[in-house]
């Protein structure tokens, strides 16, 4: 038995600069000098500069990481971190060399930006890069969106932060926690490979289907009731002999208004305003135009400091659909859950 594991993680003290260690827990205030560059000032007077860059969706090469390490050695004493939105930050950057660092890293193809009221780093799951469950391709959409909205990443020109999260199937909630979210949507019936189905644990399959769409068939097989299947993919995860996804039918939904923080009207999951758009790689025009359509309506009408959720909260859903010119569809109505709290119970209409 080889003994592996049981090691855990290295203490934070080992991975931060001496200046940061000296000022651990003493940070007092911060300024955002320019998009992507944050200056933090400690009670001791010490200052710590970070420079944030966008990262390629989902996968990066060892080669590029080593090049970034070279820059970190030269400009931030070898210290860097990865943000909770998968962006790369040089940490404790030598203040005099900030411009030089920015020039070099942008030349390598890593734009600097993504702080406060800008477009922040776009989060994308692996999808077609390495997963069998996607109904769309998160990295492709992230890249297409990034290219189209690069100026928003590099400037503080938006009413508030714009966080876009992309998940290629209903597994990850990220997309319901972004100001704008994109969620892969399967519309096909899962296909059962009849010869291999016996290898799967039938009781588990029947049990995990949230709508009891899976019924036993014969000794070892199953059948899926098309009227009950909600394409959640749980069965495909539990059994190799069930495949989901169809090139013509797959696509994605667009959600708005997810928010985790407790300011304003507090945290909540986003709401899905476009139930389905077709996949159109490599430039994903439908996704790009939908995001721009929503972003522009928000940018034009929101008050300063008003995130997507707060804007919608103030103007109400009647005005949201009117201002974004998005058509309401029967699919916006929740037929799955105890949907009554999604139906309208007041007469406060925004004609």
């Amino acid at each position: 038995m080889i003994n592996v594991g049981g090691v855990g993680v290295t203490p934070v003290e080992e991975n931060i600069s001496p200046l940061m260690l000296r000022n651990y827990g003493k940070w007092d205030t911060h300024e955002i000098l320019r998009p992507g560059v944050i200056k933090r000032i400690s009670q001791t007077g010490d200052e710590c500069y970070t420079v944030r860059i966008a990262m390629p969706p989902s996968r990066i090469s060892v080669a590029s990481m080593l090049e970034l390490c070279d820059l970190a050695d030269e400009y931030s004493g070898g210290y860097f971190r990865i943000t909770l939105r998968k962006a790369f930050e040089f940490v404790d950057v030598n203040p005099e060399k900030i411009d030089a660092l920015i020039e070099k890293v942008e030349a390598m193809g890593f734009p600097v930006g993504g702080t406060r009221n800008s477009l922040h780093n776009i989060m994308a799951c692996p999808a077609w890069l390495h997963c069998n469950l996607p109904a769309t391709d998160s990295p492709g959409i992230a890249k297409a969106l990034g290219d189209a909205l690069i100026e928003e990443f590099k400037n503080h020109k938006l009413p508030s932060m714009l966080k876009i999260n992309i998940a290629a199937c209903a597994n990850i909630e990220e997309a319901l926690m972004g100001d704008i979210g994109i969620i892969g949507v399967h519309r096909d019936q899962p296909i059962i490979l009849e010869d291999e189905i016996q290898r799967c644990e039938r009781p588990t399959l029947i049990y995990i289907c949230p709508t009891y769409a899976i019924k036993p068939k014969g000794k070892k097989g199953i059948v899926i009731n098309p009227d009950k299947c909600i394409h959640c993919g749980a069965c495909t995860m539990a059994c190799e002999a069930i495949l989901t996804g169809d090139p013509e039918l797959d696509g994605y939904a667009v959600a708005v208004g997810g928010k985790a923080s407790n300011t304003g009207s507090g945290p909540d999951l986003g709401s899905i305003v476009i139930p389905y758009l077709p996949n159109n790689p490599p430039r994903w025009d439908e996704a790009v135009s939908a995001v721009i359509q929503i972003m522009d309506a928000w940018r034009k009408d929101a008050n300063p400091d008003e995130r997507m959720k707060e804007w919608i909260n103030r103007i109400g859903w009647d005005r949201f659909f009117k201002k974004t010119a998005i058509k309401v569809s029967i699919k916006d109505i929740d037929g799955y859950l105890y949907g009554s709290e999604f139906a309208r119970s007041d007469l406060r209409f925004g004609w």
Partner: protein
């Protein structure tokens, strides 16, 4: 579906040879030659090295994952064909284990054995606060290059590094041993306690209340077995944020959320506030935007009405002279998740305030273990904690957690009188 050839570890080349020129990872001509026509009916594509879709995404100012893949041994045709056919070329994957461990890897089969039969990845537990230094990270890169296909996932949504393109148990064992030597570890896959991400906390942030980076180190050390040997009905994702700004999004989508909170009022340094105002700080704008109208600025000093403020962090975020209170601890929330019977669910407040007391964190550990135990005993197979809580009833779950409910467990009281009265609640019952 495409070609039924099943996964044959390590000798895929011979198997494939008859299908096509070798274009897969281990071959020296990799990426240099065209896929000659083969007898597979659906590979119409003649010019193999031509990757029009990927080439398109190489362009543009946003960092390009396709450019990155072309700098690795990643089987780029898997992605090119996916884009061409609008359908993933990867097959079944699942949480699997690193040899000697119960967790830590994602095994991934390919639907195109002609390109590659499989490609596994290993999850490396992320550092506290996700801080790295180049000296150790270069070694991780070396390991990734030596065993994997030279591509990394930095970081996953749950703050792990994924070393990708591992082909065999030997690869995975080698990676793990070399990582362990470096002081790094693997895990966080399958029905285990997963890696416990945190925000940068006191290392860089003025708002930090409970020091999540040190707490992550403590929790990972204490629960390393549960991280590496799955034993729960389904995965347990624990996430931490050092303050209610919630950069870690713990309440929203963690099975168990640990979030720094403060009980007293924000502290106002009126002298510093006056100078901030003099320098143009718009205190009136902030007062107007306090969600509870709790802020009263009379030109000289600011008072925060303790009867209104509910600690939302807004004024603290906007005014350097306002700091979080000192009576600090953590809120514990349970049940955030996306899928399952009851669909997407936000976490629910179970413990509004528990103390965070290094080094033993007694309160936190007691609460955390209790929740895990209840889940272990009562969760059904493949049922997330949120769905279990919904099935048991939030009221019963609170009782199981030993929580005497307060208004802070309530979004709003119920709207029906359909109570279920337990006999012991009824005192002696008279039936004539």
């Amino acid at each position: 579906m495409i070609g039924g050839c099943s996964y044959l570890a390590n000798d895929y080349c011979h198997k494939l040879k008859k299908l096509c020129e070798p274009v897969t990872k281990g071959c020296v001509l990799y990426g240099k030659v065209k896929l000659l026509n083969s007898n597979e009916k659906d590979i119409e594509e003649q010019v193999m090295s031509d990757t029009p879709y990927m080439d398109e995404l190489d362009k543009g100012p946003w960092p390009s994952h396709t450019k990155e893949l072309k700098r690795t041994r990643f089987p780029i045709m898997m992605y090119e064909i996916a884009m061409k056919e609008k359908y993933t070329q990867w097959g079944h994957g699942g949480m699997s284990n690193v040899p000697g461990l119960g967790s830590g890897a994602i095994a991934r089969k390919s639907r195109r054995p002609d390109i590659i039969t499989h490609s596994h990845l290993i999850r490396v537990l992320g550092n506290p606060g996700n801080f790295y230094k180049t000296s150790t990270f270069r070694k991780i890169c070396a390991i990734a290059d030596k065993y994997g296909d030279g591509s990394l996932h930095v970081l996953t949504a749950n703050s792990n590094i994924e070393i990708c393109g591992l082909m065999s148990d030997a690869d995975m064992e080698g990676v793990t041993l070399e990582l362990n030597a470096l002081g790094y570890d693997v895990g966080s896959a399958g029905d285990a306690i997963r890696n416990i991400p945190d925000c940068m906390g006191p290392a860089l942030c003025e708002y930090a209340l409970i020091d999540t980076p040190r707490l992550k180190h403590f929790m990972t050390t204490r629960y390393i077995e549960d991280i590496q040997y799955p034993r729960f009905p389904y995965k347990i994702k624990t996430k931490m944020s050092d303050c209610p700004n919630e950069c870690g999004k713990a309440l929203l989508h963690a099975d168990i959320g640990i979030i720094g909170v403060f009980k007293d009022l924000p502290k106002v340094d009126n002298e510093r506030l006056r100078s901030w105002v003099e320098k143009g700080g718009d205190i009136n704008w902030v007062c107007d935007h306090c969600p509870t109208d709790a802020m009263l600025w009379d030109g000289i000093k600011l008072e925060i009405d303790g009867d209104k403020c509910f600690r939302c962090m807004y004024c603290i975020n906007r005014v350097p002279a306002i700091k979080p209170g000192d009576d600090r601890g953590a809120a514990i929330t349970v049940g955030g998740k996306m899928k399952g019977k009851f669909g997407p669910m936000k976490g629910k407040v179970i413990f509004p305030f528990i103390t965070i007391t290094p080094p033993d964190y007694k309160d936190l550990v007691q609460a955390y273990d209790k929740i895990c135990d209840i889940y272990d005993e009562r969760g059904k197979k493949k049922e997330r904690i949120g769905d279990m809580m919904q099935r048991l009833g939030f009221d019963n779950f609170l009782e199981l957690c030993g929580v005497e409910p307060t208004s802070m467990n309530l979004a709003s009281p119920r709207k029906n009188t359909f109570y279920h009265w337990k006999t012991e609640e009824l005192g002696e019952v008279r039936h004539d």
